[in-house]
Amino acid sequence: MLDVSNISYQYPTVPVLSSCSLSIGRAETCLLLGANGSGKSTLLGLVAGLKRPSTGCVKIDGKLSSHVRFGGHELMLYGQFTVEENLSLFVALYGLAPQSAVESLELWGLAAYRHRRVNDLSKGNRARVSLARAFLGSGSVILLDEPTAALDDAGTRILCGAVERERSNGSACLIATHDLARLLPIATRVIVLKDGAVLADSRADEVEGSAGIQRVVEQYRELNR
């Protein structure tokens, strides 16, 4: 479904990714692990099409340009608008029924804050609005960049529920994170990045399934020691 082939990227003088390849299939929830600066966020930005790779390409369902859903470090919202106004704007942009904005507000536990400006929200609630925006739309690939960084446990439960629901609909989800404790339970695959290249992949190992994940996680913990 998602194919990243030989992708490289460099900031003006800093190489970040070098010939990185990976492919993710339908109904997979893949955790992307790696130390700070290993290229996780850059990889997600490239897959989302917000950055242009210096070499290589990203294909989704065999096509070069296709829209994905992306929740990153940044909110990608108007700070001066209320929660509801922001979600309504994106509902309109995605061509969804106006009702979707209200549903999304309720799903993410934001109904009480709907008339607050995004800039006046707490960090955790901002993260919820950002995720609510990210889960709108219909792209079959979902990219999340450290989604649990500012979320409380209730928020994380909502997130895991949303990811599981999307997976059962056949979407592929790629989540860059350091939060193994809360996100490992929903993962079907784990990939470790190091210095802009794939170091370990639970599916590439001979042992598949949960044993493979366990092995890769062990490798990742070894790196951090």
Partner: protein
């Protein structure tokens, strides 16, 4: 196609609503329009005490006010759209970069038009000059100059938004580039003020139309390279 138009309208309305809500650019521009008008009028009346001299200088004075005012106040044009990287969100939602550019340029056009009008009225009152008799022609010239200016300024403002110098960098880059536009405005308005026959078919008129088309086109074509890394 219908979806693209719908998206364009949503983005345009949201940017317009933002401008109405924060009113920053508008407030800065209107105050600056009056302040610059007062300063220029003071300078002009000191040098030319006779009304004929003031009348001659009026066309140049209004466009000097406009160009300076707009170059200074548009520096924060993309402040709120880049605060939380809203533009990335719009791109992800499939909005064409050209749509984003045209929305922002149109919002800036409206704000600049209001500021320009304020400046013209203020200068007219302070210098005791009126161009009410040729108001239709003057509006045509103004719309074209302000449109071309907003397109170019919106593109350059997008370039300078991430800069450490921000507001200072925009006038430095923009002012040398808008000189042809400035000349068009001054020359055509002078023709009006002198009561000469005015037409957009002359060299200046044609250049003005060409510049408006060129800057809107360049902006729409190049904006993608500005917003996508």
């Amino acid at each position: 196609m219908r979806r693209a138009v719908g998206q364009f309208l949503s983005v345009f309305l949201s940017m317009g609503a933002l401008e109405l809500r924060v009113r920053e650019t508008l407030a800065v521009m209107l105050s600056l329009a009056i302040i610059i008008a007062v300063v220029v009028a003071f300078g002009v009346t000191t040098v030319f005490l006779d009304p004929a001299g003031r009348e001659k200088l009026f066309p140049a004075a209004i466009w000097i006010c406009f160009i300076l005012n707009a170059a200074v106040s548009l520096g924060r044009s993309f402040e709120y759209e880049t605060e939380h990287r809203l533009l990335d969100g719009l791109l992800l939602a499939g909005v064409a970069p050209a749509s984003i550019f045209i929305s922002k340029a149109l919002v800036n056009f409206v704000v600049l038009s209001v500021a320009h009008l304020t400046g013209v009225v203020a200068l007219g009152m302070l210098l005791g000059v009126s161009i009410a008799a040729q108001s239709t022609d003057f509006i045509i010239i103004s719309v074209l100059v302000v449109l071309a200016y907003s397109a170019l300024a919106t593109l350059v403002a997008a370039l300078t938004t991430g800069s450490r110098l921000r507001n200072a960098l925009l006038p430095i880059i923009l002012l040398p580039l808008v000189l042809p536009l400035f000349f068009c405005g001054v020359e055509l308005t002078t023709q009006l003020a002198l009561g000469e026959s005015f037409s957009l078919g002359g060299a200046w008129g044609q250049m003005l139309i060409g510049l408006a088309v060129l800057y809107v086109g360049l902006g729409a074509l190049l904006f993608e390279s500005v917003v996508r890394e």
